[in-house]
Symmetry: C2
Subunit: 197 residues, 2 copies
């Protein structure tokens, strides 16, 4: 085993790049993210990352996609807990906001305007999967008579919109941590008024 010591990278360079990239994204911001530094940190030549990501944007896209997966898992888990529609909605909002605060730079990356429209297809699909969760929750609420009738979209879209808007304010520090905590209940109450039969 000493023979292959430091020859090739330890197994999965791709995963190592993503992990390390997210770490520096969180600690030093998106501006400090450099492929060359990443390679240096991982003890690999600066050209090595290109085997796994065709360019820097491809790494950023992969990072964003992984972020959507994790957010999706988190929200799905929150949806399980909660007997009533208000409980489930409240749980969803809190989970989304918590993720936004804990992963501000990543969430920013996830929703950043892509100038190349074709490249963002997978990211848009991932966002739609999130929207679909809101739809399911609303539809379930309608079946139980806890949510007003009408096209699911006409309620799920505004709900998802408010959810994301609040998280967006929280992550961009337009709202302080205190304002987020203080405003949360009012926002949830308002959302419930918008959903009420």
């Amino acid at each position: 085993m000493a023979a292959m010591h430091r020859r090739y990278h330890h197994g999965d360079l791709r995963a190592a790049l993503l992990t390390r990239a997210e770490q520096t994204l969180r600690e030093k911001g998106p501006g400090a993210l450099s492929l060359r530094e990443l390679a240096r940190d991982l003890g690999v030549s600066h050209a090595a990352p290109s085997r796994h990501f065709k360019d820097k944007q491809a790494l950023l896209d992969a990072l964003a996609l992984a972020g959507f997966d994790r957010l999706h898992e988190t929200l799905a888990a929150s949806r399980e807990a909660g007997e009533t529609f208000p409980d489930r909605l409240g749980g969803l909002v809190r989970a989304y906001v918590d993720f936004a605060v804990a992963n501000a730079e990543l969430l920013d990356l996830m929703y950043t305007v892509k100038h190349d429209p074709a490249a963002s297809e997978a990211l848009i699909a991932a966002a739609h999967r999130l929207g679909a969760m809101a739809e399911e929750m609303v539809a379930e609420g309608q079946r139980d008579g806890e949510v007003r009738e009408g096209p699911v979209d006409s309620i799920a879209l505004p709900v998802f919109t408010t959810l994301h808007g609040f998280a967006s304010f929280a992550m961009s520090s337009v709202l302080s941590a205190e304002q987020v905590a203080d405003g949360l209940d009012a926002v949830i109450a308002y959302m419930l008024r918008g959903c009420a039969p």
Copy 2:
């Protein structure tokens, strides 16, 4: 006048840099924004911009700040038109969404997570000025009995949040132009339910 021809820049390099920067931001995206190219385009040495912006981030901040000013003007104008609260709210939403679609990259820049918390003070203040507009509108609606009673913030914050969330989806192309147009009325109706007495 031929004597000063091409010696110094045409009067206001600072303003020229901002104008040109916003143009390339819109046309080629934020990744293509380079100080050196900007200087080249304006026929000035690559070190000249540093006289007006201490670094690249300072230029981006100035750009974002100017964006907030323009958005503020646009929204203030939309608020004048409209006799009833629903009319004024609808006008505000449409104005914000129009701005978001027409200036997606700029709005993204305006709300981008700044890793240096101190640097973004002025930007946060600008966002708060926008929030204050929502507060005024809600307070006015309360006086006229068109909006439910209670602390202004408990209604204005969710309203502003929904507003921004929808614009954010529109600009990040999570929603297509069609989905934005189709969803607008449902979102406004939902907001009004959240505000209703």
